[in-house]
């Protein structure tokens, strides 16, 4: 089956996604938390992520969250 250049490019891109995931979020770390400096992500995003992760973990552990009373979008 012949593959178009586009097929090959798409395959490379898909492989790249998996590569990035592994190289930037996996592996042994030396030299402290280097992830941030590489991605150059603002601290506000990090704080938000930490907050959301902790909320998600609480849910997974079956801890109760603040009661949802009525629609919050008023």
């Amino acid at each position: 089956m012949t593959m178009t250049r586009e097929d090959i490019a798409r395959q490379r891109e898909v492989a790249l996604v998996d590569l990035v995931d592994r190289l930037l979020a996996g592996g042994v770390v030396i030299g402290g938390d280097i992830t941030l400096s590489i991605a150059d992500v603002d601290l506000v995003y990090v704080g938000l992520r930490a907050l959301i992760t902790s909320v998600a973990t609480a849910d997974e552990l079956g801890l109760s969250l603040p009661a949802a009373g009525g629609a919050p979008f008023r």
Binding site: L19, G26, G27, V28, T35
Partner: protein, 225 residues
């Protein structure tokens, strides 16, 4: 500045004679039963552009060809060899333990997405579900059913793969279409069987799209080393 690619066993083996980032030659630092493989750089390298990522990856894979290697995260740098040696000394135990866990094994990545009849790859809007629901109770029931179905599907797809693996790490779903997203640590010799199993599962489940990538060095299974 020193850029580290991996920490290996068989420290008596010299580092491969090839180049790493910025065409710098590979060098090795031995400390006890561990060998750290690195390159030296006068100035900063390693903007995470695809070329640099693949360059790092190729070094790790070359190491993996003839020894067990703990892949380093991209961007693992230290000031000099003293710092590197200190790291190897301080983390000797967890590093040796990690090497034992991954020796002879590779990582395979699996991503499974649910396909939809509409073919445009987007999940039906929650509103559509809700529109079909007459009451709040109906909504709850339809959501419960969706949840059960998704869980069931994920388990059905994960189990045959997990059986072939020494270890597996699943991620939480990232999108509405996500059925499964995970990494499997598999003996090298088992990779063909794993692949056949993936193909078999795909044929049995045309409602999903299954992507299997690898073999990769075991990045996902060493981050706590």
């Amino acid at each position: 500045m020193i850029w580290v690619y991996g920490i290996c066993d068989r420290p008596e083996l010299a580092p491969p004679r090839r180049r790493g980032l910025a065409q710098a030659p590979l060098d090795g630092l031995r400390e006890g039963e561990l060998l750290a493989v690195f390159t030296r750089h006068a100035r900063s390298v390693g903007e995470p552009a695809p070329d640099a990522l693949w360059a790092h990856e190729r070094v790790v894979e070359r190491l993996m060809a003839d020894r067990a290697v703990l892949p380093m995260r991209f961007g693992s740098t230290v000031d000099g060899e003293d710092a590197l040696r200190r790291f190897l000394l301080e983390r000797r135990q967890p590093l040796l333990a990690a090497l034992a866990r991954i020796a002879g094994r590779v990582e395979l990545g699996v991503r499974i997405l649910e396909l939809h009849a509409s073919g445009n790859g987007s999940a039906p809007a929650v509103a559509t579900i809700a529109a079909g629901a007459a009451t709040g109770r109906d909504y709850l029931i339809s959501r419960l059913r969706d949840g059960k179905r998704a869980e069931q599907l994920a388990t059905t797809l994960h189990e045959p793969l997990a059986t072939l693996a020494a270890d597996a790490r699943l991620q939480t779903a990232r999108g509405a279409d996500d059925v499964l997203r995970g990494a499997y640590l598999v003996e090298r010799g088992v990779v063909p069987r794993f692949r056949v199993t993936v193909e078999r599962l795909q044929l049995a489940h045309p409602e999903v799209a299954i992507l299997c990538t690898g073999p990769w060095p075991p990045y996902t299974f060493v981050s706590d080393a």
